[in-house]
Amino acid sequence: MRIINLRRKIILNAFGSVFLIFSFAAVVFFIYKYKENFNIKVQEIKSSTINLKSKTIALQIKIDEALKYKKIWDNIDENKKNTQPIKMDEINKIIKESAQKNNIKSEIIQITVPTPIFGSLARETLIVSSASGTLSFQAYDDISALKFINDFQNKIQGYAVITSVDFTKNKNYKPQDIIEISLGKGQGIINVKISFFWYSYKEKETPENQIKSGN
């Protein structure tokens, strides 16, 4: 067998081996990449599915929550739902009207400027602001005082959480006091001083709201 022929065969086979090894590596690489792309696609679909599932679950939770709050929504006074800004004059008007209705005297209200809060009251569609305030007045009896406070809480926009109340009776009624009260004069015998936090809210600036408001 000729050595030169054998040598040629070995060289050819070696080149063949190199070519095949490269081909094999290329095939392996190509298939690996191909599978990897497929796997990425599968993962994308799976993560998208997971996302949709979690959206569904979140929506389901929302539905349950919405159903739970639907009754509350129906029972909440309209002024509690009001998200329009309220001016101090309007608050004073509410106080005056309620005071007149409940024979309340010397009513004085002081409220600080509301500041937005972002703690547990941070909401998706609303910005909740809080302001602290004090309200002092005189009443002829505790029932009138309570009614006045209740009126104030119901008529004012949002929630007024009373954090402290002081009812102090200055004196007992005398016949002269009753005559003066019937004439619409005289002073109440109960001094009331309440401190409260007033929570009001306004619409959050979302793209939808901006469109609605035309901005």
Binding site: M1, I45, L52, V128, S164
Partner: protein, 515 residues
């Protein structure tokens, strides 16, 4: 059935026999006495038409030498080292073919009794000019030269056949095969323990009257030589297998000595026995060249291979060619298998994608259904116009704000209303204080703790001290009932009270604390 296809070239002293064995038949045979251009042309023609058939060179030359050497009973690995060292130290002429085999290897492995030493046979032969030329010529051809073999070492199948027929089992017996080849002369080959240990080429004139006498004399001469190797050997231990024509065998049978055990075959008879064929050799032939070539070809286990440096190189290169060829084949196979695996796995992945997409679609449908339910359940079905529709998030936001603030907003009024019981107990409240103790305006807690302080007077129309105690106890008891979830603190009536005195009113001081 797989046949041993090969060219067996038997090189003798007076010629060369070129035999093509193919599919268990002798397809071609050429006898050449000189490697002239005509012979070359003939050989080339046959080789060219059978390029893939390998070539074996079988030497039936006179200058073959077999030397026995004993080695101590060392480990076989060490023995091989010793032998190699001996061969290397003896090599002076690299054109001489050398190799070795261990004579008692089989016996040592089988026997439980340890022999004293290893018996090794060194075989060597020079390469004649004709052989050299022939090898050079064959090296230029496409056919592969597998190696060079010594004829005497490779004809054990004849002894084996004899053993089968005669059913002999004498381990110490020696077998002397005597045959005549056209390309050399008459050869004696002595076998011990299934291996050739000695051979000699003899010139006989079979027509001569004294042939039988010379034949007998040569046998005795061989016996004398063997006695040096095996001191205890006797003539009866030597079995002589003669392979000659009937005519020569008749002459041999006239030998008077009855000491040797003779077994006679004609080449035709032996060919018949061994290959069950009448076509290998003619009935009248007295030459064994073709028969031995056939025996060598059909023997799958060649006994001892010799090689020249050039043949060794081609063999090594052939080995690498084969290896690279099979490696390429394996890689191709791997590529094929990997592709198949990839196709099947792509199918699986495609199924996985389809499954994932279906699942996604189902989830999306579920989401849409849930969204519709959400829109309906939020009460929007009642809303006729778009501007009446309320965002579900708005409901939740108001609900949560209400949850957080409403309990605290109404805490004071609820607490005060519950105090209505005090009036039933003829008590007058002079001072009422309510406050949350841990209310955080930034994060209002609906269960914020609170305290209520009440100061007043308990009225007692009778002025009787016992009524005071009774009314006070009733007031405290009822307060505790009403504020069951709160802690009620109160001042006890003093023990040093003057019982002779009338008490129309008595101060009360209550503290109600959420738990």
């Amino acid at each position: 059935m797989k046949y041993n296809n090969s060219f067996v070239i038997t090189v003798g002293e007076s010629g060369t026999v070129f035999v093509l064995h193919k599919q268990n038949q002798i397809k071609n045979k050429i006898l050449i006495t000189d490697l002239n251009s005509e012979a070359k042309e003939q050989i080339e023609k046959i080789l060219a038409s059978n390029k893939n058939i390998p070539i074996y060179i079988l030497l039936d030359t006179i200058d073959q030498s077999y030397k026995k050497k004993d080695y101590p009973l060392v480990k076989k690995f060490d023995l091989i080292h010793l032998i190699k060292r001996d061969i290397n130290s003896e090599v002076t002429d690299k054109t001489i073919l050398r190799n070795h085999f261990i004579l008692n290897d089989h016996a040592l492995q089988k026997s439980k009794i340890k022999e004293k030493n290893w018996e090794c046979i060194f075989a060597s032969s020079s390469i004649s000019k004709l052989s050299q030329e022939l090898i050079e010529f064959l090296m230029e051809k496409s056919n592969r030269i597998i190696g060079i073999y010594m004829l005497p070492l490779e004809i054990f199948p004849i002894v084996n056949h004899h053993l089968k027929i005669s059913n002999e089992n004498n381990k110490d017996a020696l077998y002397c095969v005597v045959f005549h080849n056209k390309i050399s002369a008459t050869r004696q080959v002595i076998f011990s323990q299934k291996k050739a240990i000695f051979t000699r080429l003899l010139e006989y004139d079979f027509e001569n009257i004294s042939f039988a006498e010379k034949y007998e004399k040569d046998l005795y001469g061989t016996f004398e030589y063997l006695k040096r190797l095996f001191p205890n050997i006797q003539i009866k231990d030597i079995n002589v297998i003669n392979i000659f024509s009937d005519e020569i065998l008749k002459k041999i049978s006239s030998v008077k000595s009855i000491d040797f055990n003779f077994t006679n075959y004609t080449p035709f008879k032996l060919a018949q026995d061994l290959f069950k064929s009448n076509e290998i050799i003619s009935k009248e032939s007295s030459h064994c060249d073709i028969l031995l070539s056939k025996i060598f070809n059909d023997n799958k286990k060649k006994f001892l291979k010799f090689t020249t440096p050039k043949i060794a190189i081609t063999e090594r290169m052939f080995f690498f060619t084969k290896i690279s060829y099979y490696a390429n084949l394996v890689i191709l196979l791997l590529i094929g298998l990997y592709c198949l695996f990839a196709i099947s796995s792509v199918k699986t992945i495609q199924e996985e994608i389809d499954f994932a997409e279906n699942e996604k679609l189902l989830t999306l449908q579920n989401l849409n259904r849930t969204t519709n339910i959400a829109l309906n359940k939020a009460g929007y079905e009642d809303a006729q116009e778009d501007n009446q529709k309320i965002d579900i998030d708005r409901i939740i936001d108001f609900g949560r704000i209400n949850d957080a603030l409403h309990p605290s907003e109404k805490r004071f009024i609820e607490s005060y209303i519950r105090l209505d019981l005090i009036k039933k107990h003829s008590a007058k409240i002079s001072s009422f204080t309510f406050n949350f103790s841990d209310f955080n305006d930034k994060s209002p807690n609906p269960n914020a703790k609170y305290k209520v302080f009440i100061k007043g007077i308990l009225m007692n129309k009778s002025g009787d001290i016992e009524d005071i105690f009774k009314k006070y106890d009733e007031l405290i008891s009822d307060t505790k009932k009403i504020f069951a979830n709160e802690k009620v603190l109160y001042t006890e009536l003093p023990r040093n009270i003057d019982f002779s005195k009338k008490y129309y009113e008595f101060p009360i001081d209550l503290t109600i604390e959420s738990k």
